[in-house]
Amino acid sequence: MKAVMKDRSIRLAVALAAGALFAPVHALAQAQSSAEEARLIEFGKEIFKSKAVCQYCHKWDASGDQGYGGNALSLRATQLTPEQMTEVVKCGRPGTGMPYHDRFAYTDKRCYGYTREEMGKDMPPAGNDFLSNREVDAVVKYLFAKDVGKGPATYEDCVDFWGKDTKQCDPMKK
């Protein structure tokens, strides 16, 4: 029991500290993308941009932001592994505005080893839309391919995200 408690405390601590420290680029970000991976990354972009609207709080370049969504961390500077980020996307971050996206989160102990009752007042909010496993995989792949461990976003990154039919990226032109 003690070991279980320790394990879930560690997992929770990781979630709470997510992104607080800077870390080197994760190897996955540099991996050669297969065609299927490229499709998945593009799909993940749509999750990040529109379906889960992660960008409302984290900003389009995932550099973090403030405001009505909460003080959202920079995912460019996160030290989470893909596995840990997957858990945060599915389970949210307890005690913060980061929502959970697994429909069944906290109905059993899949999230940090806690149920809704055990989480009490630290229970994170539900996301506007729940995500399937494929969608969670895609958004995590997208983040590691485009944002995690990268430096400040560039004009090219902006055009890649928003397209060329908007003034959105003009301020970033050199």
Partner: protein, 591 residues
Amino acid sequence: MSMKFFAGAVTGALLTATALTPARAADMTNERALNPQREPQNWILHHGNYQGHRFSLLKEINTDNVKNLKPVFTVALGGLQSGGRYAFGNLEATPLVEDGIMYVPDGWGSVYAIDVSAGKKGVIKWKMDPGTDRAWAGDVACCGVNNRGVALWKDKVISIALDGRMFAINKATGEVAWERKVADPALGETLTIAPLVIRDLAIVGAAGGEFGIRGYIDATDLNTGKAAWRTYTIPGAGEPGNETWKDGKERWKHGGGSVWETATYDPESDTFYQGVGNAGPDWDPEYRAGDNKWAASVLALSPNDGKIKWGYQYTPNDPYDYDEISEHPIINAKVNGEDRKLVVHAARNGYFYALDRINGSFIAGKQYTYEMNWTPGLDPKTGRPLNYNPNADVQVYTEGTHGSRARPKSDKLCPAHTGGKNWEPTAYNPQLGLLYIPSIEGCDYIETVPQKDFVDQGGTVRPRERFSGGATVIRERLYGSLKAVDPATGELKADLKLTYPNYSGALATAGNLVFIGGVDGTFSAHDAKTLKELWSFNTGTGINAPPISYAVNGKQYIAVLVGSRQSQNVIPFSPELKNTSTASMLFVFSL
């Protein structure tokens, strides 16, 4: 082709066109704008009248027969595209109706002229899509893709788009006569407000209080499509009120004070009353020492030149984001036996205020929300929060209700930063002397983050970046209420607790009814004296727009826009609404 034949052909074509075209609606004149009560079949001003009453004189639908009210037609609108930080556009507009034609925008600024004269269906006569740069504008919209309505002027419809442009549209054809860039998203400014037309001026203001703007009220000369005047809500160096920015670092230049809901207008004194938004940054008041005028205030202004006649600030050095952009109804009432000219306001900070509209002096104030903890009350003479300290540069209201740099995470704040009452308008029944407040009830939390400086002040924050000095956290379910108060005193006359916070605003009618919409899609009619629900219909998706009433061929209709982005403040703790899909619909009801 001979010239003679050509002239004949043109004349013939014109005659044919005339015969086939319905009689053109009368031009919208100043005379009509001053007297909407003469044409109760129409809804020609944003708030129903300049005084902001949202009261329909129609009474075919009344307390006795409202149980028979039913939907008679719906019209699907557009505006569901994604853009910027949003997955789709909202519907928050108040429709206008003139002689059987409805004029209404969607969130992205497309304007629809809908022929509702048949009473059985609505036919979209024309649609003007302004081609809004959705990513550019939507990335600096704080709270959704919103457009709260259009205005009528002469033979034109005056509209705005989120990307800062104003349009004059031919009412008959939908052709744009001119457009003017008013607000600049490059600076974090957007337009969401329904224009207020007074004589030949269209008055709007810029939203962007979370993006480091310096707010303003702006008038366009409708005859030329050019700027007439602009008055900043945050006074500049040397202007009265600038001394209330005591930081010594010119932080008034990014001081917020946004404007995003339509003002009321008193023709008698030729004064309009504009509510003004929060100071920026929202939740780091130590960044902007001083009272921060005229954020969280009302301004009385002259429409001809935009000169400020007086101002009244509700929450000095506001650490909560209690912005007060919403309507300020104009009401005449007896106060202690004396006839008084009032301008009243159900404030986001949870208090109802009655001010003397001639000089801005405080007359009455009363808590209208169930829960309130940021101040123990208002000073009976000044209306200032009782715990306001005139000798302090940074206010400390009730300990723990706001964040600070020393203690960033607040305890519970009531009402929540949303209010109280947000932009959703009140309605006033002058026959009963009751003001209806559609409220948001409940509490939330604030987390302060020391605000970094703007690049033009030696810092790193660039235009279009968020400038809010922290964040809000919702940890519990918000709920709502509908309240009827005496506008002279704020005394509660009737009260109805609602399952959900109200995000639609209210309509009052001479049939002694009050209509509201709910985030669960429930559209309901209430007894104007008791607020008891007399009828409801569920539209199947959230309602975030205020209803109106109009008549065609003597038959009364109630209309409301349905479908919106569900608020992040509601959904996470209202799991029963979790799977609601959005829509973009006009619903029309009649007996």
